[in-house]
Amino acid sequence: MKNPLDSIVGTIISGLVLTVVLYFFTTNFLMKAALG
């Protein structure tokens, strides 16, 4: 399998996917206790 970081498009898509994953991780797990 090709490393996505070898291409600029692959790097940007990986960054966008990671953003979405971390956003849902933050709102659903990390912030849940703080938000009640």
């Binding site: 600029i8 960054g15 990671l18 956003y23 933050t26 703080a34």
Partner: protein, 165 residues
């Protein structure tokens, strides 16, 4: 007032750091094979890259220090942010991503670029290995900069931004 100046410096240094990161990834790395084919590689490796790398790594240092200072003095708390505690979690995640990127710059990219640029002794095999490692660390930082900037700008509701956390 001190926090305003600190935050201003943080953004100035951050733009310098990430701007140069994008220059390396979107311009220099793409153009380098053509520059080499034209026989002009030395102009980049001897003059442009070392200077750009100096601004790059010191901008990373200033960005990290001013960010850490801001977290501690603004009431968020450096420890709260890095422990991802409650409402400090979004900016803490941004701080973690920024810290990983900062360590990448000083711990992986710079030591390996020194070999590639001939600033320290290395065999051709070591140079090739160092080049690949520096490239992947730089691309990793480019990837991480996307969520890092997202968490940096969305963890505050200033300037009319809707609260999403």
């Amino acid at each position: 007032m001190e926090l305003i100046i600190d935050r201003w410096l943080h953004v100035l240094a951050g733009i310098t750091w990430i701007g140069l990161l994008y220059y390396f990834n979107f311009v220099q790395a793409v153009a380098m094979p053509k520059i080499k084919a034209d026989g002009n590689a030395a102009a980049v490796t001897k003059h442009i890259a070392p200077l750009a790398l100096r601004w790059f790594r010191f901008a990373a240092l200033v960005t990290w220090l001013t960010g850490a200072y801001y977290l501690e003095r603004s009431g968020i708390g450096l420890v709260n942010a890095f422990l991802l505690k409650g409402t400090a979690a979004p900016i803490g995640l941004g701080a973690w991503l920024g810290t990983i990127m900062f360590l990448n710059v000083w711990g992986i990219i710079w030591p390996n670029q020194k070999k590639v640029l001939g600033l320290v002794e290395a065999t051709d095999e070591q140079k090739a290995k160092a080049g690949r490692l520096a490239f992947l660390a730089s691309r990793t930082n480019t990837m991480l900069s996307i969520p890092m900037l997202f968490f940096m700008i969305t963890s505050t509701s200033a300037h009319g931004l809707p609260k999403i956390f």
